[in-house]
């Protein structure tokens, strides 16, 4: 009887959510960064998270893979609670994830090739190195960097690093990929290739993606759903059209890239600019 009930509630909760966040609150010391976030990520869909710089997007993303622990609230992966697991138990769950860090986070001491092999080597016993090299080649080709196998991260440009990091994030064929600003620092054409990769992974492999971005063009292109974060709260949540026509002024300002009236007023204030340009009068040399 009881199990039947449990099964029912479980089935009800399931409706294909791969990640579920319940009343997530995150404080650093006394600073409230995330304020009671509730979020349901559907399997196989691409969710885009937008929001002003410093509003807690990266912090939210890190909670989804429990690189950060909530101050309170819960995180579920495939309906199992994960935010209270030990690191050891999490390691197994994390192999289902790919995480693209905002700064790339490539290992400086490893070549591009070894960076991509790293996650594979950690979880599989590699016997056929030729096959692995083929795999590295194909992952790199995907991000347009085949031939860079023996470069070290220090020798790559910022955008190249990010693309290698993407190749590494998808090395384990994850079910879900968390992208932290995948197109920042890339030229428009490269950005669009990344968008295409996200779409391709979704269409062909049914991979769930969560994309943090400032790039509205990219957001509209890849999103099944857009979530806007502001002051630690979700202020808008819906598909691209819904967001485009959202009445909330904060949302409109953000998606149109308009500054706030208050910010403008600050700039307009007489004398501010010349004050800002003040330098000591003694110019040495």
């Amino acid at each position: 009887m009881e199990t039947e009930n449990e099964n029912k509630t479980k089935a009800k909760n399931e409706h294909n959510s791969i990640i579920e966040v319940k009343s997530l609150i995150k404080k650093f010391k006394n600073k409230l960064v995330l304020d009671k976030i509730n979020l349901n990520i559907e399997k196989g869909k691409t969710t885009v998270v937008i929001g002003p710089s410093g509003c807690g997007k990266t912090v939210l993303l890190k909670h989804l893979i429990v690189l950060l622990r909530p101050s309170s609230g819960e995180v579920y992966f495939n309906n199992d609670r994960i935010d209270d697991l030990k690191e050891k138990e999490l390691d197994k769950i994390r192999t289902h994830y790919g995480f693209l860090f905002q700064g790339g986070a490539l290992f400086d001491s490893l070549s591009v090739r070894d960076n991509i092999i790293f996650p594979i080597d950690q979880h599989y016993k590699i016997t056929d190195w030729k096959q692995i090299d083929e795999l590295v080649k194909s992952k790199l080709a995907m991000v347009g960097l085949d031939g860079y196998q023996n470069y070290y991260p220090a020798k790559l440009s910022g955008g190249q690093r990010k693309r290698v990091a993407l190749a590494r994030a998808i090395a384990l064929n994850p079910d879900i990929i968390l992208y932290d600003e995948p197109t920042t620092g890339l030229d428009p054409i490269r950005s669009d290739i990344i968008n295409e990769i996200i779409l391709k992974l979704q269409r062909e492999l049914q991979i769930t993606s969560i994309v943090v971005t400032h790039d509205m063009k990219s957001a509209y292109k890849v999103a099944d759903r857009i979530v806007m974060l502001h002051n630690g709260k979700i202020v808008a949540d819906g598909d691209a059209d819904y967001i485009r026509n959202h009445p909330h002024p904060v949302v409109q300002q953000f998606i149109n890239g308009q500054v706030d009236e208050d910010d403008l007023a600050l700039l307009r204030m007489k004398g501010t600019m010349s004050q800002a340009q003040f330098l000591p009068s003694d110019f040495v040399q």
Partner: protein, 269 residues
């Protein structure tokens, strides 16, 4: 004022607690790694980085210690007509105390600093988070190989220091001061026991683990930015330094107790 001291003390105790936890985890993981062939390439890489390039430094340290001891002690002993026993004094000081401690301090500076800077940089550039995000325990991948490498290498490096200390002492005593070479060695051989050498080398295991664990911990808990990394390095060196001296003191007591349990009576001269 009292509140500040209170908070500082609280932070300090907190820090000790976290270090203890880190150390405990690292020990377990290191033991685990030691038994698994997969970790060996990582350990070998670290041993190459740590070992090979440290040899000249610790050898120079040893040579100077031996030579300085000879210069300092010669006059006093010669005044009593005991200069032939100079070797006993030099060699026992070198192998038992000065060799191990100074070699460890050199390593704390040379290796500990580099470890903290490397792991600290990895921490602030999110590389440690990246290791975690790929389902790997950063302690297993980053800390254990370094602890094991230092555990295995410090005693070996101490042996190098000892050898150079002995040679340095010999050089000054016999070649500079003209002490009879045969007498110098025979006194040394009869008073410096294998036990004394062994103590020095065994200390190396403890010092090595202390340096590695402290430096890795400081790297892992490093604060943001270049300044954070620099500060972590300084803290790592100071903590390693103090730990080496404290450990040396504790080990002296322990070894003495062990020694007297097995060989209750021993005359000094």
């Amino acid at each position: 004022m009292f509140a500040v001291i209170g908070i500082k003390t609280f932070d300090f105790i907190n820090d000790i607690g976290r270090f203890a936890k880190f150390f405990w985890q690292s020990t377990i993981v290191s033991l685990n790694c030691f038994l698994r062939a997969k970790a060996y390439p990582l350990i070998r890489t670290q041993m190459n980085i740590i070992g090979v390039r440290s040899v000249p430094v610790v050898m120079i340290t040893g040579a100077f210690v031996g030579m300085t001891l000879a210069i300092q002690a010669y006059d006093q002993l010669a005044g009593m007509g005991l200069e032939e026993r100079l070797g006993v004094l030099i060699n026992i000081s070198v192998v038992k105390e000065l060799g191990p401690v100074l070699a460890a301090i050199m390593l704390a500076g040379r290796i500990g600093g580099a470890l903290t800077a490397e792991l600290g940089t990895m921490n602030v550039t999110e590389q440690i988070d990246a290791v975690r995000s790929m389902g790997t325990d950063p302690i297993r991948y980053l800390v254990a190989p370094r602890i094991l490498a230092l555990l295995l290498l410090t005693p070996i490096l101490i042996i190098y220091t000892d050898l150079m200390g002995i040679l340095g002492g010999y050089f000054i005593s016999v070649i500079q001061f003209g002490i009879n070479s045969k007498a110098y060695w025979s006194y040394s051989a009869s008073f410096v026991e294998l036990w004394d050498v062994a103590i020095g080398v065994v200390k190396g295991f403890f010092f090595g683990v202390a340096i590695a664990a402290i430096s890795c911990y400081k790297g892992f808990t490093c604060k943001e930015g270049a300044q954070g990394v620099g500060q972590a390095c300084t803290e790592a060196f100071v903590s390693s330094f103090v730990s080496i001296l404290a450990l040396n003191f504790a080990l002296a007591i322990i070894f003495k107790a062990i020694y007297f349990t097995f060989w209750p009576i021993k005359s000094i001269v």
